[in-house]
Amino acid sequence: MPQATTQSGFQAERIDTSSKWYDLFQKGVELGTWNVEKLFDEVGFEKDREIWASLEPGERKQIRYLLSGFLDGEFAVGEDASHHLQRIAGAPCFDDNEEMEMYMTMFTLTEHKHTQFLDVYMHEVMGEQDVFADLNPKRGGARIPIVQATGLGEIFDRQGQLTARAAHSRDPVDIAKALTVYHMIVEGLLARGGFYSINKLSQNAPLPLLNHGFKFISTDEGRHMTHGVEALSELIAKERAGEPEFQGVSQAIVDVLYENVPAVADFGYMFTDAVDDPLEINFNDLLLRVGHLIDGQFNEALDLDMDHRTVVGRVADRHQECLEKDIDDAVRTYRDLYQRKRGVEAAADGGR
């Protein structure tokens, strides 16, 4: 039977063209297929290299730390989208939603493009970056030392665990946990907090190619967020309708928020106060921005009853840990550790 008519008037036999996921898929086709290499050709690296060269060492460090968080983050979401989210989209709890599975192909493509953009950009503009990619190729190498040193890497590990478990069990509560850490926290809080920071630093370091790329990335992530909210809302609606296997979905979402929200402190601190914030991103403004996002996503968009005091307490505790940690020393430790691992590998291979 022909499905409903789309805005452009098309109908289909198997695909529901009136589905919101079909709409997201189509938007992804139209807007998400920006060509990274073409962008490099059109905007070019020259201006960014010139501005990069004019920056003070502390300013460069700040941008490098911020982009390092993004690079490891994009790699992690790309990997988990490829391996796990596609299977989650086909779970029975989503009622064989063919359109959601279609959208996930577009979703995964864009995540990998973000990695492509960041990896090439950092290498071409900021010079040779030792991102230790050779140590564990399956997950994009060992994490960059600053990401590991602040504890930010923990949330990417947790995302990997929760998405893998959900892909395996396809249980609605497991899926709710996986989608929460992936869409609502890593994409919804960390990435959007990062976009806010890119915007702010551009006032003092106007890197045109970087800004151009991030405009595309943030538009893509907007669609990803819409997908995440819609998918979680569907699970919550089924829970509220009393379907037995969905019971516990709302509590799981809130629990995952409480467990992982401290990563906001790790991420924000590492490229602001930890490096004395020479480009004036302002950790305070960033925290408030993320606080508003938390309220908007969890209490408003998902209509949950999340406790702000718990969130604030957990972020404060992690921030205190950040303050007590010698970040530079921790970075050196990870760098040394990774180099030692390379040494072992080199010996096993008979040296390089």
Partner: protein
């Protein structure tokens, strides 16, 4: 005087309650030590243009209207004759045959924002008690037509001082909490201050990481506001 909100009197009650609150004292130990922990509460969008004397609670205005009703014919004529042109306009527009009833109706239509230009000395002698005090506070402390600033001196678990500020530019406290009047009334009625800030209903300016670490103190400040008796002016 009753604890009208907002007023100097309510603020003093709040200060006293805060200073006596054990939860606040424990949670705010060290607050303001070696940094400026003072807060400025900024109440914007006070509905002074939208609210008339007739809209105020009866408990505030009943005495004034009773006093006018009790005037002899001569006393009333004297009061009428000295009225400002701004009041005369309102009086002319008021319906009815009874002069004193028209006078009351005209007076009821005066917006609080217009009180300083409409009210005249002879009428002021009949405005007494809480209403007199509150109108004087509005005249002295309202900035830019609809905003009031309250400064709280907070240090190491204590609130030593709380006062309305006529010239906010002369102060530079470490922290500022700003919201429309209506949002403040929700807080005074028991809403959660942390939630109000996170949901962007209240705007916090200052070292947010310090507030994070004193989250329980911030919450206690909100809780004490909710526990402080209040009668709302608007």
């Amino acid at each position: 005087m009753a604890d009208w909100f907002p007023s100097e009197e309510w603020l003093e009650s709040y200060r006293r309650n805060l200073a006596e609150d054990d939860a606040y004292a424990a949670a705010s130990e060290g607050w303001g030590v070696e940094f400026d922990g003072d807060f400025c509460f900024v109440l914007t969008h006070l509905p002074l243009e939208e609210t008339t004397l007739g809209d105020l609670p009866d408990a505030l205005t009943a005495e004034l209207f009773d006093r006018i009703d009790a005037l002899s014919a001569d006393e009333f004529d004297q009061l009428r004759e000295t009225a400002t042109p701004a009041f005369d306009e309102r009086f002319a527009a008021a319906d009815g045959d009874d002069e004193q009833a028209r006078f009351r109706r005209a007076l009821s239509t005066v917006a609080l924002a217009d009180v300083p230009t409409v009210v005249w000395p002879a009428l002021e002698t009949h405005i007494r008690g809480d209403l007199e005090s509150l109108l004087a506070q509005l005249e002295e402390y309202v900035v830019d037509g609809s905003t009031v600033y309250a400064h709280l001196a907070l240090e190491d678990g204590d609130c030593e001082r709380a006062e309305l500020v006529a010239d906010p530019s002369a102060r530079d406290p470490g922290f500022e909490l700003e919201a429309p009047y209506e949002t403040w009334t929700e807080l005074v009625a028991g809403a959660d201050v942390i939630e109000s800030v996170m949901s962007n209903e209240m705007e916090l300016d200052g070292d947010v990481t310090r507030v994070l670490h004193y989250g329980d103190a911030a919450a206690a400040m909100g809780d004490v506001a909710g526990e402080t008796d209040a009668q709302y002016l608007f």
